[in-house]
């Protein structure tokens, strides 16, 4: 894994940007959650992916109950990976009983830009953003 070329024509693997949102069951302890999060982080890096960003929302209220639970731990991975990786990643999600729900999406150039700006805190001036942050604290 010495050279990671993103988009050259010759034989190198094309890496796309993806984002996966995972909802873990609220019954996990803090350590169990850490383990689970670390496990998937490892899967990304071991399969030729490249982790860009991670976000943890902590225990969040769900809009509707899933598996009779009204809360869940949200975790978001943003990563670069070859296209074939997503299916293996999602297979791992399905096999894991700690995961209630997941969603993987491809990021286009606008969403990549949006995420970068979000990380830099450019949206925090707005009313909604500050409210959300306060709620998190």
């Amino acid at each position: 894994m010495a050279t990671k070329t993103t988009k050259t024509k010759e034989e190198s693997v094309v890496l796309n940007n993806y984002e996966s949102v995972i909802i873990f069951t609220p019954v996990l302890s803090e350590e169990q959650l850490k383990d689970a999060v670390a496990k998937y982080r490892k899967i990304i890096t071991e399969n030729g992916g490249e982790l860009i960003h991670e976000e943890n929302w902590g225990l969040t209220k769900l809009a509707y109950p899933i598996q009779k639970k009204t809360t869940g731990f949200y975790h978001i991975y943003e990563y670069k990976a070859p296209a074939s990786f997503v299916s293996t990643f999602e297979l791992a999600f399905r096999r894991d009983e700690r995961i209630m729900r997941f969603l993987s999406t491809v990021l286009d150039k606008h969403s990549i830009q949006y995420n970068v700006r979000k990380r830099n805190g450019e949206f925090n001036q707005g009313k909604n953003a500050t409210k959300q942050q306060e709620a998190k604290k």
């Binding site: 949102v21 909802i23 769900l62 809009a63 509707y64 899933i66 869940g72 949200y74 978001i76 729900r101 969603l103 999406t105 286009d108 606008h110 969403s111 830009q113 949006y114 979000k118 707005g126 009313k127 909604n128 409210k131 959300q132």
Partner: protein
Amino acid sequence: MAKPQKKYTGSSVFNTTPDAAQRKKYCRFKKNGIKYIDYKDANFLLKFVNDQGKILPRRLTGTSLKFQRKISQAVKRARHIAVLPFTGDMIK
């Protein structure tokens, strides 16, 4: 120009009151240069659903077709990850 918009909440954004009906509708995404709609941002997406959680038609919101497609995609994704409810009464 962009800022006073944020003050409105819910359906008052959309020109449903009689005096506002004559005002021309416009696509807020085109006007404000928004290119990506985040499906994880529940507060923003709430502007595009009604009290029952249904996606509002573009004839009410004035959104252009391009962005209406993106809104619907984003709302559906948000529902899947339980950021928005599928149905509900008075969800706002």
